[in-house]
Symmetry: C2
Subunit: 206 residues, 2 copies
């Protein structure tokens, strides 16, 4: 099946299914149902069946989904069977947090290099990394063939750094800067925005 | 309309629409279409029209949506017309970043108090806050009537702190700890998970 045939909205739900399935796996659970998965992720069982059916026949009527099989399939679809090297730019508070974040391992990512433009930070150790000069971004990323980056720089320079990253070959950017960015067609961009997370809950508060 | 009648999946998209609309507003744009909005957020125009129609008649055939009106409506629906006080627990890297984050203002939130259990951190200044002793969480939150919290503690104590927060009256938790949490019915929980953001993009990489 060609990639473009799957709507973005479905692709965006698959990592959430994957996370829930891996939680079940960690608890030694073998099988699940669209009903149970739906309750855990807050999406209807019908929607889950419909989403997964886009990619093939994963479940059996009556016996549900084999979790290990479905996890393998989702990792394959999302292309996270192997770890992607990730460049991290901006070593302020958020950059520090991400450089030491324990939640990437075994989910398809590995921070490979970290950058900042502050002479006070360049050459210093953060977690297991030595902070590199942001002027090296282009060459370093091109040389390593890195396609994925996380952006934690101030809003004022976020667009300029984004342009550098894209020119160096980055095709997927996770943006923590509180600003809207422009990228050319073919480059993916996701925002990690705490206000969005909070607004998704206030609707339900009395 | 009763809150429970709106599916969670639709509610979860409204903050994304709101952010895009506010960007348009910041560029002095007056009106938009479901087509344009859809292109900006990566959701089909039909889906957007369907989502918004759950809440009333917002657009006019041919003239599109008045942005200021729709922003006002979405803020009203999401209950972010006024700022919610937020408690921030865990003053590691991520907590520091959030205490100084500039993206909450005017989006419905205000960090009101910050906590940690580390004697080295308690009493110290972070941004405009003095870090309070985590043992005060219960009383402080109850007294201030705080309903919203952000959790940036290590995974090992995340569930214990969550239980404390809920007992103190918190009803919405944004979790940065890389661990799955249990909350009683009626308490909302959102995960801000960088791996999910990254996995939503790797699908598209060659």
């Amino acid at each position: 099946m060609k990639k473009r045939e799957i709507p973005d909205i479905i692709v965006s739900r698959l990592p959430v299914y994957l996370r829930a399935l891996r939680r079940m796996q960690a608890q030694n659970q073998q099988t699940t149902s669209s009903q149970e998965l739906g309750e855990q992720v807050g999406i209807s069982a019908a929607q889950i069946r419909k989403d997964l059916s886009q990619f093939g026949e994963f479940g059996k009527q009556g016996t549900g989904y084999n979790i290990a099989f479905l996890v393998g399939k989702l990792r394959e679809i999302l292309q996270v069977e192997h770890a992607w090297d990730v460049a991290l730019v901006g070593m302020g508070d958020m950059g520090h947090a991400l450089a030491r974040y324990q939640g990437f391992s075994d989910r398809g990512f590995r921070v490979a290099m970290v950058f900042d433009n502050d002479p006070e930070k360049i050459g210093k150790q953060v977690g297991e990394f030595i902070v590199r000069d942001a002027r090296e971004i282009g060459n370093a990323i091109r040389e390593a063939g890195i396609k994925v980056a996380m952006l934690c720089v101030p809003a004022t320079i976020a667009q300029a750094v984004t342009t550098q990253l894209v020119e160096a070959g980055v095709r997927a950017i996770l943006n923590y800067a509180p600003i809207s960015l422009s990228v050319p067609a073919g480059v993916r961009l996701q925002y990690l925005d705490p206000s969005i997370g909070l607004q998704r809950m206030t609707y339900y508060l009395d």
